[in-house]
Subunit: 541 residues, 2 copies
């Protein structure tokens, strides 16, 4: 039924504009042109300089034919160029595909082909693996060499350097907002648990909203100094390339996680915020006291995944780092729930505080809905802290879907909710807590590893009859892959090292099982491997 | 041209939900049910209690037939019921029309009819004026009496009390998000400058975004304690009923601006944030030292309109109140530009700081565009700090338009921008500064007063030949109406007081000229009154 409010009050160019996080850099560079945008080794760039560089790259790419709906892939660590790509590429209307720099050539080749990559920007550390990937892949993208002075070695993948590309571009290039905020802004491949990687597509609307959600739930304020301990290739760095820019902060870049260097950077630049897997926090604690720079200001760290144990939380907070625990997945732009802290909890003893903080919490204000439900009936579980259900999410910061995979999208969205595949309980205060994973994904050092992929590699070994991989708890990595293998009767002498050596040829290094156990596999009556039994065994090793 | 990203990736119930600020109270009441939502006199209510009351009112209104597109008007000061209406009314799909409590019966009658008000909620302080308005008006809305214990006098407008209405409602009522975020959420009448008030329509999308913008630019953080010195009937309290709720803060209510009481409340409740016209800040300074409660914590005040003079800024900041200067209008949900402060300015002397702070600044990150332009050619003026142009705005926090007035909407939106009618210069650093008003509106105590309306009243006086009204600068009110009158030759003895007495019968009290000058009116060769000359005269009185 129409009302008086439906007449002559339609959207138009004055009162409706597509939301996009790309706009954040325009505003910040205009208001704070001389403020430091980027710190990287000896490099210091202002917001005016950074915006100019983004415009130049965007202009150069456009001149070379890149536009709406094209995929521009990047194989870059957390360097200034990676930040610039979060603006320059969407400025052209193209989609930023951030490749996991730890992947092997085969996985990369699959992604480049699947995404129909038109351009690939490659840091020299990854020239070799990308070259190999391109030998396998069908696509013939334009290549761009990125020569980071902080690396200072390696070969260029091609003759076209990032700075040369930049020089081709117009520093006054005026980009145009996407016509529709629903347009894709980025593509992030998730290893998932079953077979081929899936391409998660983000849009401008969701990226804008999650960027705003981040600062709201973290009480961030203007001008944060943010240290890039979280890879930007993970869910676009949880949208922080956009959040920090919106808040006119400073991005302190970091090629690789080096605990001692992190502490030095925190101290030197007065870092106020950083993100990362618990393993990063753990690593800071393991820096020997005698070389450990003392932190004399307040630092906030956001962490996700397996919650750190009480001792780690206590020790980290004693260092002056305050932890905020969030939860999310690639499919939801990074974090979308937070263990929203209550000041009255400050009075509790450490173990109690750690137990509260270990919970994955409540939804961001920018996410419409979170529930723990029976994944079949979609009935929410009681808030009793005991009944296990699947974490289901919905709202504007859920992905557009999986690229070229409508079946997987439908499966993930069945029943009107995004199914995370994570199992949790719902506490009486509305906070949720993860209890287990519905699927068998292993999270090692913040990386998702598909057990099925490892099993696939193991099965290639001529002596392997059956193989099953589960997560084994690990102090350093959180979890590592643990392989249970039954050898063929005719197999001769095979050692654990033989298996690992074999896997190294088949898999990225971080996916190689750290433990190999030879035994009969426990099975259900219908012949299905009982992974929960193996998980128990792995835990007790 | 479609790309791979346009295929099988359409919006659906999982990944697209209409943005609405109503959702903020759901989240906050769920996460912080026991935190204090509202303080008013002796009243303390938690978020759980407040949400329950909103649900009950929404349910009761729905049971009485109120739904999408209906107008629910309220004549309420800053009391808890007014806050509740910002949630309860949109929960039903209806539109909240906040009436300016200082208006006279005739203006109110016009608005009630124009908005086709289905319900009016009336605080007992305004029973008489609303009764009079309803005698004039055609509509026959359902009336609801609001009996605030902090007022404690006056008559009920009808037999149906707010608490009785509340008791009719279901505390578990589950409201439904608007199907479209473009749906109207509220209606705010602006006096405008020409003739009849115009009904500015806000939508859920814009209200959500401006609420988020407020906290981002103010570095607000979680759990602000917010004092309601700004009327909620002004642009929905600049969207702060939604911002403070989103941030799980506390609303400290206040029926009327009482400087001494304000200082007591700030001290007693640890108020962290408040908004208001400069006159409010000025009033705080005028509280005699001996009765002035000392503020011992940091307070942030957001102010708009004519910037306070240097001395006021200096004195206020010495009291411990940090001022943020913003700019906006009813048509843009309240503030949309901010004099974004730079820490390096802290070093400057007071006069220099005040001059910088007096500027209206730069756009919010939630507003797409601001420019100072020639209103005819739409060419931006140079950023020279001298060339005057009109402030033009565009983006998601510009109104849907004027209700039932497509011509005024088109006029305001001509050339693809919202024309504010305010004249400003653009400084080289991108900050804008208002120099004059394109129209002749008077801002007195934060209220817009149309000079044309006053002139219309003056012309009704039998002895008046010609009349022109301009703003006269005033230490207390910012500006007051100053009337210049030429009497008819045959007119007998007419005093300034006679004119003012006459106006009191015709106009709301605050619109009555505070100064009356009898003189010949200066005119252009074409016979148009030269208001700029009169403004000079008024200034020198």
């Amino acid at each position: 039924m129409t009302s008086i409010y439906d007449t002559d009050l339609t959207p138009n160019v004055v009162n409706h504009s597509p939301m996009t996080p790309v706009d954040f850099i325009e505003r910040t560079a205009s208001v704070y042109p001389d403020y430091t945008a980027v710190i990287h080794g000896e490099i210091r760039r202002t917001w005016a300089q950074t915006l100019k560089r983004c415009r130049q790259i965007a202009s150069a790419l456009q001149n070379r034919g890149i536009g709406r709906g094209d995929t521009v892939a990047v194989m870059l660590p957390n360097i200034p160029e990676m930040l610039e790509c979060h603006y320059a590429i969407p400025m052209t209307g193209a989609v930023l595909n951030t490749l996991n720099i730890r992947l092997d050539a085969e996985a990369l080749a699959y992604m480049l082909d699947h995404a129909e990559a038109a351009v690939v920007l490659v840091d020299r550390e990854f020239t070799t693996v990308v070259r190999e990937a391109l030998k396998i892949a069908t696509v013939k993208p334009l290549l761009v060499d990125v020569n980071d002075p902080e690396y200072g070695e390696g070969q260029a993948i091609c003759g076209l350097d990032y700075t040369a590309l930049l020089a081709e571009g117009d520093p006054d290039f005026s980009w145009v907002s996407p016509a529709d905020e629903w347009d894709a802004i980025s593509l992030n491949y998730t290893s998932g648990t079953t077979g081929k990687p899936k391409g998660v597509v983000y849009h401008h609307r969701g990226a804008f909203l999650n960027a705003m959600g981040n600062q709201a739930i973290w009480s961030m304020g203007q001008h944060p100094i943010y240290l890039w301990t979280l890879p930007m290739f993970h869910c676009n760095g949880w949208c922080f390339p956009w959040t920090i820019t919106a808040m006119a902060g400073t991005h302190v870049c970091l090629r690789r996680v080096d605990p001692e260097k992190i502490l030095h950077l925190i101290r030197e630049h007065g870092v106020t915020h950083m993100c990362g897997a618990p393993i990063v926090l753990n690593a800071l604690l393991n820096v020997p006291e005698r070389v450990r720079p003392k932190i004399e200001h307040a630092v906030k760290a956001m962490t996700a995944g397996a919650a750190p144990p009480a001792k780690v939380i206590g020790d980290i907070e004693q260092m002056g780092i305050h932890i905020t625990h969030v939860y999310g997945l690639t499919e939801v732009y990074g974090p979308v729930t937070v263990c929203a802290w209550k000041s009255e909890w400050d009075e509790l003893d450490l173990n109690h505080r750690a137990a509260l903080k270990a919970r994955q919490g409540v939804r961001y204000p920018t996410l419409a809905g979170m529930m723990i439900a029976d994944p079949e009936t979609m009935e929410p579980v009681p808030k009793d802290g005991e009944t296990v259900g699947e974490i289901c999410l919905r709202g504007n910061t859920v992905m557009k879907g999986y690229l070229k995979n409508p079946q997987a999208t439908q499966e993930a969205f069945r029943g009107g909710w995004y199914h995370t595949g994570d199992l949790a309980v719902w506490h009486s205060d509305g906070y949720m807590e993860i209890k287990d994973r519905l699927k068998d994904i292993i999270i090692s050092g913040g990386e998702n590893i598909s057990t099925i992929e490892i099993e696939g590699a193991l099965y290639k070994h001529p002596a392997v009859l059956e193989a099953a991989v589960v997560a084994r708890p690990d102090d350093k990595w959180g979890e590592t892959p643990c392989a249970f293998i039954t050898l063929k009767p005719e197999a001769g002498e095979v050692s654990e090292n033989d298996i690992m050596d074999f896997c190294r040829q088949e898999l990225a290094r971080f996916k190689v099982p750290k433990t190999v156990v030879f035994q009969e596999l426990p099975k259900t009556s219908t012949g299905k491997v009982q992974k929960f039994v193996l998980r128990e065994t792995a835990r007790s090793l």
